[in-house]
Amino acid sequence: MAAVDHDRAAQVGAQPLDVKAIRSDFPILDVEVNGRRLVYLDSASSSQKPRQVLDAMTRYYETTHANVHRGVYAIAEEATRQFEEARAKLARLVNARSAREIVFTKNVTEAINLVAHSWGRRNLTAGDAVLLTEMEHHANLVPWLMLAEERGIELRYIRLTADGQLDLSDLDRLVDGVKLVGVTCMSNVLGTINPVAELAEAAHSAGALFLADAAQYVPHLATDIQQLGCDFLGFTGHKMLGPTGIGCLWAREDLLEEMPPFLGGGEMISDVRLDGFLPADVPWKFEAGTPPIAEAIGLGAAVDYLTGLGMDAVRRHEVELTSYALCKLAADHPDLVIYGPADPASRGGVISLALGDIHAHDLSQVLDTAGVCVRAGHHCAKPLMRHLGVTATARASFYVYNDESDVDALSEALAEARKFFG
């Protein structure tokens, strides 16, 4: 196996992951599809969940569920404690200054919409500019397109180089006069890891704030917002071993303090009269209604699981596996097109590919009969697809429970598909 050493993670000497032990924590990996073992290569869409996460949620419901924040009886206090402890775990995971900087949302999409609605509507008026990139997920495009339509703000885009990196040659001009720069930390199509700290610095020099869509980053790399220098950072639970129904916005506390509330309702107020209301303190000001309590606790357990493995070890594992996959697939399939950067050290474990002229959906369908799950489609990044000149790609993506045997299964299934449509 070609070990790659470019990466920081590899250098700090992280222990290799014991994938066999990890796999035994994921009940779904024992499922058979068409008589074949499940080869799950779609974690960039949504990861699977370990027993530990499912147990944490079931245990919560079976022993101490109650609505949080207001109850004075014992199980309600315990529910509140566990819920707020989950918040603290997430704060530690991204190295936030305080758990008050963590807002629970239903997914990262809501987190970005929160920024667009609350910060955006307060701070952006007609003619103001926001700088995004051509590789953004729809979650970091549509909220700004909606604001552009409503407010007449200008959207600019950082274009891409031929090998799927951000083209920063023009950055000075692009960033000049913008109020916000919003960039995905890692492309969910190309795997490209973007130079977030550098971009954040450029944003700040231009007097802009920096928003990071870290949906594909926090699950896979050690994340230190102090070092990245972001102002807003969003991520989503279901891609990091956590349950569906929960996401997070981290934001600088002073920004949260100044921002008006987003959704209105219970929990987010300190007083309500028939003619007005007073919002609550951060972060609760942004959490209207009953929050995803069990989901937060489940996500907390996912954080424990990931930090138990060590985020550096997770990253090293994925670099190695991606490196193996890039070699193996290219060797086995000379007609295979692989999008995105060639160097495994500058990309994540996400591989978009095209096999001859087989349509991505046909490819994915045929792979499925071999138990191999890959995603086919535009991956919610249609502008990027247009840039690539395709309507869809097939995408394989890796996580902690994948190993070389999964890559081998993918490669074999690709051969079968070629035969089928040949």
């Binding site: 068409n34 349509h359 959906h361 046909d362 697809m385 869809a392």
Partner: protein
Amino acid sequence: MPGLEDLYREIILDHYRNPRNRGELECPPAHRYEGFNPLCGDEIVLYLDVRDEKVVDLKIAGQGCSISQSSASMMSSAVKGKTLDEARALLRAFKAMMSIHEARLDAEDRELGANGQGADGEEAPPMGDLEALQGVVKFPVRIKCATLAWNTLAQGLDGANGSAGPS
């Protein structure tokens, strides 16, 4: 678990590899219609030449997966030369064949009793090769592939209705 052979029948792969009526027609006299599958982003372009209530010619352009391409190819063969009424009957019959799942949102409530027959109980026209697409209903995500060309045809037939003859 339905197998691959339920979806990719030999006849489907044949139409995929050798698409019939591929190309463009001059507009006018033909009309151009676009169909779009939002699930995947694929697009079909239908050129339809209708004269005297009859589909005298049609061509298919655009791109998509094997199911959408072969369905378009089969549709073009089945509809070419047919009267508008015959084409409409075929469209209804095909949509009925697919509706078991496509109309799932409705079929689960009391409104719609999708049963593979035209709403007015008319007799379904013979489907020929099109029967091969029946297996698609076992793969719900792919139903929109199979119906893409037909939904585009529906636009065309409505258009022909509106203008009531060649333009």
